[in-house]
């Protein structure tokens, strides 16, 4: 696909949409790199946190796709260290949340984010069904989604012996209300299963 020619009315950039959705301006960042220095996962990221902001600031052709297709946005743990140390008070974790949702909505999630995404989706499905998290159900559903059938098989007996595995979910009384909450919030596709398909 070719890039559209610049028009008199420039379409909203990803940085604009970030600002609109989160109230955060990526242009506050002056690239000191403190976020990357404190980020526990910067070393594993394809773009460090400040580089994500730089790509958004520049918004040159292809850069927005780099951001939404990056692994970095999925590795972010929301540990909030970057936000705590940013001299410009950029709420990077909030921006990361928005970028993940955009990445998913536009079907650009990084292939290596597949397991992380499968876990989050299995988690929400468990809550939707029971109102509370059912850990056994979550893990089984995650395994089925990812095919990691043998992962943690050694951990389960340990948990069972210690009385930490409840085989049946602790469902809440008003499960109908929880399902309705999920439906009403469904404008952002939370259960778009194939978003990360390679």
């Amino acid at each position: 696909m070719s890039h559209p020619l610049p028009s008199t009315q420039a379409p909203a950039t990803l940085a604009d949409r970030v600002a609109q959705a989160t109230g955060e301006s990526v242009f506050r960042c002056y690239q000191c790199g403190k976020c990357a220095a404190g980020c526990p996962l910067a070393a594993e990221m394809d773009y460090e946190p400040n580089q994500i902001l730089r790509l958004l600031q520049l918004s040159l052709p292809g850069m927005e796709e780099e951001v939404l297709g990056s692994l970095a946005i999925w590795l972010c743990l929301t540990c909030e260290t970057c936000a705590a140390r940013c001299p410009q008070e950029v709420d990077l974790p909030r921006i990361m949340d928005y970028l993940r949702q955009e990445s998913l909505r536009t079907g650009q999630a990084h292939p290596k984010a597949k397991d992380i995404l499968a876990f989050h989706q299995a988690f929400l499905e468990s809550i939707r069904k029971n109102g509370r998290l059912h850990e056994v159900g979550l893990i089984s559903s995650y395994k089925l989604k990812t095919g990691h059938l043998l992962q943690d098989v050694g951990v389960a007996p340990k948990l069972l012996v210690r009385g930490k595995l409840s085989l049946l979910p602790h469902g809440i009384a008003d499960r109908g209300q929880i399902a309705r909450i999920f439906d009403k919030c469904a404008n952002t596709p939370t259960t778009k299963e194939k978003g990360a398909a390679q």
Binding site: T81, A84, L159
Partner: protein, 308 residues
């Protein structure tokens, strides 16, 4: 004193000893924990990662039910739940239209009158109110107070005042006779929500935390978050595999340490549910050396070395 209580999902499952120990110490501290009726999951990392509106609605329902039950304060022992509830409360307070919208989504009135309280907030109040006098068995060990992320960040919502070097847990530990060590990883992230989907990452991050605590002579790590506990305790085998060092130092919830100091039974505090046994070989070794070696072993403190 009656206080609203939102245990959260972990405390019903993999972290049930956190719940048991809180329930066990509450009467001794003069607290009555009143559970929010029909509470739901806060949505955790999954909700805020995938769906912002859902990440507001799920915690809002919990807060609305707490309001309905008449709780002015709501104790939230899980730090991850705590930050979800506190940030929802903040966002809905700042945005009236959003408050009305979310109230419609959850089909419940929500005004935001119920405040959220961390375990540290609650226990510190007790500590300043004479906890020391009730200590029957001082917890005489060197401890690494581990806060992780959400007890200190985001700073505007967190219960701890010093973001980079909080001291609240240290104050609590001193009140029950423990000796907090000075260390570098108290507010580092353990890897939290990637415990299942990226175990190697968690083993690396939690391994660094464990290594620093052990190298500086801690006999135990004290936590106030189910995620931190899971990663440092249940995931110990993965950490040991990755780092090649067999650390045996146990990880205790702050409520378990206080329970032990109050003289409560180990079983009532759920110590038997830990993956890493709660034993203190360093102290035993120290005692043995002091008893066995006679006058030459006068450097009692220096003997608290840990085998690698």
């Amino acid at each position: 004193m009656k206080v609203g209580f939102f245990p959260g999902c972990s405390l019903e499952g993999s972290s049930r000893e956190y719940n048991e120990s809180l329930q066990a110490i509450a009467p001794a501290l003069g607290l009555e924990l009143c559970e929010v009726p029909d509470w739901n999951c806060c949505g955790a990392t999954a909700a805020h990662t995938l769906n912002h509106k859902l990440a507001l609605a799920l915690p809002a329902r919990i807060l609305a039910l707490a309001e309905q039950a008449g709780f002015t304060d709501l104790l939230v022992p899980c730090s991850a739940c705590l930050v979800r509830l506190a940030s929802t409360r903040e966002e809905l307070r700042q945005n009236e239209a959003l408050r009305r919208e979310i109230s419609a989504v959850i089909e419940l009135p929500y005004t935001g009158t119920t405040r959220v309280l961390s375990v540290l907030d609650m226990l510190l109040t007790c500590a300043r109110d004479g906890l020391k006098d009730r200590v029957r068995q001082p917890f005489a060990h060197k401890v690494a107070c581990y806060y992780g992320c959400y007890l200190t960040r985001p700073a505007r919502l967190a219960p701890c005042r010093r973001t980079e070097d909080p001291q609240e847990m240290e104050e609590l530990m001193r009140a029950v006779g423990a000796e907090p060590i000075d260390w570098a990883f108290k507010v580092e992230c353990c890897g939290a929500g990637l415990s299942v989907s990226r175990l190697e990452t968690v083993a690396e991050l939690s391994g660094r935390i464990l290594a620093d605590a052990a190298e500086r002579g801690a006999e135990a790590i004290v936590v106030a978050c189910p995620m931190c506990h899971t990663n440092l305790d249940l995931r110990r085998a993965a950490i040991v595999r990755r780092r090649g060092t067999n650390w045996s130092l146990p990880v205790l919830y702050v409520s378990q340490v206080i329970g032990l100091a109050l003289g409560l039974k180990e079983r009532a505090l759920g110590l038997h549910r830990h993956h890493v046994p709660v034993r203190f070989p360093a102290a035993a070794t120290r005692q043995a050396m002091e008893v066995g070696a006679g006058p030459s072993a006068s450097d009692g403190n220096g003997a608290a070395q840990r085998e690698g």
